[in-house]
Symmetry: C2
Subunit: 212 residues, 2 copies
């Protein structure tokens, strides 16, 4: 059985929990609170030298890091991975977009505004850049979703799971999705998928009801 | 035949040219100078709404964006893609690492210091962050390479090509690789691979001889 090192309030960790739930794969979960330094202990660094969650133990002593690499591994030969070579390339295209255009901006805003007490004051200068680049990423997504139900290969896939995590957190950290109707429709579609599980602790702070 | 929209001095574009060369795959190349706005024309945006290079046309009117997604597509069923499921996960792990830990820092420093005239003065504040995070990424790579010849699955793969591009540009934009002997050894190993091609225009500005 997989063992997942994960932090409840981490969007990157939530991606993996969501994929495991949609695929109905059993796993053991180990909570690692990065805010309390639990990913920087010698034990954890021996498992993942980058000191990051999520981390998946796939067999005894063999680990995969990087949320989207874990998603790709889990999706192998499942309905979450597109069947064609071009479809798989489309899924990965959006997953790499997620890691350099969405996560570094909405993820950073979420971390400092929603998780770290007093974080807003520490990051005043950076926040403007995150908002500008985060909105630019949301515009690219909105344009795609105007003409497509999902991101890759005309189907619900790991690309949607990768993008859902931080997009659904956007309204907890100053982003306003009012001007993005196609994104809001897609968030609702993802939340109606069989096996969908909400991110624990997220709904309380949201302006939007999740998973209903 | 593939058609590649590429910019000569873009590290992300070079990744794709290097993979095509190593795989001895013929292609047509279209130079797009992003510094002159050529990736923001209506024609180009119709091909890639993100307005970025590289962009690969794989069949008439079908495009793949994102350098590492293109690499994965090209590596399909070739020696550049690991054979095992776990090996492929390792390769993707390093490719996602490249896009969020290496490229946004060394790539940004390269862009503003090596490509944009007067860029250093425009980015004084950001440079410190790029250097700090770029060196952190290089330390993770150095630690891995102390015990491994290549990044994933014990073999030369697309992960090495993805990481080579900006790592080999580090010494053109203030990074000093003197304290990273394992990285320097790996750069030299990549440069000795059959089919290796240097990045045009790069060698002139380097403190290190490339591809010899």
């Amino acid at each position: 059985m997989y063992k997942l090192y994960s932090m409840q309030r981490s969007g990157n960790s939530y991606k993996v929990r969501l994929a495991l739930a949609v695929l109905a794969m059993p796993y053991r979960r180990v909570e690692v609170d990065i805010l309390r330094g639990e990913s920087r202990t010698p034990d954890f660094l021996a498992r993942n030298p980058s000191g990051q969650v999520p981390l998946l133990e796939v067999e005894d002593g063999r680990y995969i890091a990087e949320s989207n690499a874990i998603l790709w591994y889990l999706a192998n030969d499942t309905v979450l991975r597109p069947d064609t070579r071009l479809g798989r390339a489309e899924a990965l295209q959006w997953m790499f977009f997620e890691q350099h255009a969405l996560e570094p901006n909405i993820g950073a805003a979420y971390f400092w505004l929603a998780l770290v007490r007093g974080g807003r004051d520490l990051q005043t200068h950076a926040l403007e850049d995150w908002m500008e680049r985060g909105y630019a990423a949301l515009r690219v997504m909105e344009n795609h979703l105007k003409a497509h139900d999902y991101f890759a290969a005309g189907q619900f896939s790991v690309a949607d799971i990768a993008l859902y995590a931080y997009t659904h957190l956007a309204d907890t950290c100053d982003f306003d999705l009012a001007a993005f109707p196609a994104i809001r429709g897609w968030l609702a579609r993802v939340e109606r998928r069989p096996g969908f599980v909400p991110m624990e602790g997220r709904a309380e702070s949201a302006g939007r009801k999740i998973g209903v």
